[in-house]
Amino acid sequence: MQTEILGIIATFALTLIIAIPLGKYFAKVFAGQRVWTNFLSPVEKFIYKIAGVNPNEQMDWKQHLKAMLTINALWLVYGFFVLMYQHQLPLNPDGNSNMSPHLAFNTIISFVVNCNLQHYSGESGVSYLSQQFIVMFLQFVSAATGIAIAISFFKAFKEKTSVKLGNFWQHFTLAITRVLLPLSIVVALVLAFNGVPASYEGKDQLISLQGDSVSVSRGPAAAMVAIKHLGTNGGGWFGTNSAHPLENPSYLTNMLEAISQMIIPIAMIIAFGIFIGRRKLAWTIFGVMTIGFLLLLLPTLQSELGGNPKIEQLGVAQTMGAMEGKEVRFGPAATAYWSTITTVVSTGSINGMHDSTMPLTGLYQLLAMMINAFYGGCGVGLLNYFIYLIIAVFIAGLMVGRTPEFLGHKLEAREVKIAALVTLISPFLIMAGTALASYTFTQHGNAAWDTAPSAWLNNPSFHGFSEMLYEVTSSNANNGSGFEGLGDNNTFWNILTGVILLFGRFIPIIGPLAITGLLAKKKYIPESAGTLKIDTKTFALMTFAIILVLNALSYFPALALGPIAEYFSMIK
């Protein structure tokens, strides 16, 4: 037990030890300063030349948006057709079949938007071509998209007044060549030398020790497992993701994968502070996020290490904690830790089944995804937090009777309206989606669809409701983990979550980018004694309170019907 706790403390400590210098490096790379990876600049020049882009051409926020949406739309179309016709395409040693149109629709959106919700199983649902040319490709480029937009956000607040936010293509390219690819190579090599397969051989057939005939799925997984974590994507090579012994073979790889998914989101915050010359602000943001993270982690640990009270009653020994859906090589502590990090940073990979975790653990997983800004996804985490900051500045401004300002730019009706809209869209999508699903389940259970709604759920009662709530929340947060008992590969869920995924990704990018663009071109007001300072402890507390209140008001009723009700039903 002690070694398990020590293990997660070491994992978090190592995460910070790596992320902080990495943040300093990011700041230099994107400011165009000298860094040791500058030997790559000929490669980048070559890429710009082939692509016909001028990396020095400055774009305003609308041009960033157009570039981002164009390239994302291209991936959507291209990927959709590859998934639909993968059976006819090469690199399919296991002979996996084509995706149905609604599954391809869901899958391609899911990977383009960095969510990686998977309504298929990796072993049987996709070919090696789809895995590498679509899934893994999108894991790189969707993360790079998030980072690229975050960098234009940085640039907006570096200058006093500016409409120039850098060049999207350049940010995008650098995010891959200087950040994602080098880190992926290192992580993939360590994984490959610790048991994760990397060869292109297909399924293996053998006779087990006891004499049964078994087949074992394999494939070049190591390369993908690295980027799936570094890019906070989370989509696994195998169906059970990082719970699969070939995707996450040991405690060492588990630590590495857990560290990989946290370092870029944390480094982005550090980089932000250095880039705009406001380190104290970055540390304040980091502080709020870390407190929020710990407040989710500690009770999760308590709830999982305590075991299942119903199994306690059966009389077996839960010395390690709750073990359903967990792997012995990680133990409940590392699985609980993972369930928190994967929901706060929007990775959505899992090393144990969330559906089988304790009710309160499910509550914290859901809350983490609803808030979606404690570190948050690659690049976009900071943008989500920025929206909370805008709301906090606005409310604080009202409270003290001053004109709200954000980093020297006056915050006016237009920006606040956008922020309010972005804040409202999440509860709307989550509530409306869950309500629609619940209504269909209860009122049209026997509808003659590809899967009858009455057959969706793997668990009865409150927990069944949680399965639907989780699926919708995960889609909106672009997280991608699931209460996997839900029968989700059917027209209803593929279309519903596909649509939510699109809104859940692009509105929280477009909104902050628009606010940024609008603020950046306003006249800079120097700080004075009358300025509301946003890098103080008081303001940090204010932001934290805003995050809590907004989310509690939005989601408490739904949470009460799901995990909270289940919790009370179990202790009675």
Binding site: T3, A10, I47, I50, A51, G52, V53, A67, T70, I71, L74, S121, E123, M136, F137, F172, L181, S184, A188, A192, F193, G195, S199, L209, Q210, V214, S215, P220, A222, A223, G239, T240, A243, H244, N254, M255, N308, L314, G315, V316, A317, M320, G321, A322, M323, G325, E327, V328, R329, G331, G352, D355, S356, P460, S461, F462, H463, F483, G485, S569
Partner: protein
């Protein structure tokens, strides 16, 4: 809009070559130097491949150590957990049945000696490990069926216990397949 479409297509093409061809091929070639040569490390007994070190197998015969319950019957062509919620009554009944089965095959065993992982399904359905207690619990049965002294079976478990990483991080565990291969090697 043309201004954005062409760079989008070209960048997608360039990065497809770098990220989907060069990068994974490099990792794949480098992995040839690893223990399983990138195809997964195999377990060999009497010159025959009997399994993968990391993939758990179904053991139902009484002369073998048993692994954890699996929602997919240890079929490694796929993977999966039970996804049963903690308060699901049917599920709890199933767990209780597993407890009864274990008690039946291990006369004298107390419920409190059964560690939870022996009656709960793993996340992957392919968990290769059990805890040390999960193996020790079965020692008497193995000794009886294999006509081995109990101390020898316990000793075997001890030598096959994998310590936490660096002795510090994570749980102790036993690889069931390795343990059973060792048992078969004694018999040889």
């Amino acid at each position: 809009m043309n201004k954005y479409i062409l760079p989008s297509i070209k960048l997608t093409a360039v990065f497809t070559v770098i990220l989907c061809v060069l990068y994974p091929l490099f990792i794949s070639f480098a992995a040839k130097l690893s223990k399983g040569e990138g195809g997964g490390e195999k377990v060999i007994l009497n010159g025959k491949v009997v399994g993968y070190k990391l993939i758990g197998q179904s053991f139902t015969k009484p002369q073998y150590f048993w692994g954890r319950p699996s929602a997919v019957g240890y079929n490694a062509a796929g993977s999966g957990g039970s996804n049963k919620g903690p308060s699901n009554a049917d599920y709890l009944k199933e767990v209780n049945n597993r407890v009864d089965t274990l008690l039946k095959y291990h006369p004298g065993l107390q419920k409190s000696e059964i560690p939870a992982e022996m009656v709960t399904a793993s996340g992957s359905g392919l968990d290769p490990n059990v805890s040390v207690k999960g193996a020790e619990m079965q020692a008497k049965r193995i000794a009886a069926y294999r006509h081995l002294p109990l101390s020898k079976v316990l000793k075997l478990i001890e030598t096959h216990t994998e310590k936490p990483l660096l002795g510090l991080f994570g749980p102790e565990k036993v690889n069931v397949l390795a343990l059973n291969v060792a048992l078969d090697e004694i018999d040889r």
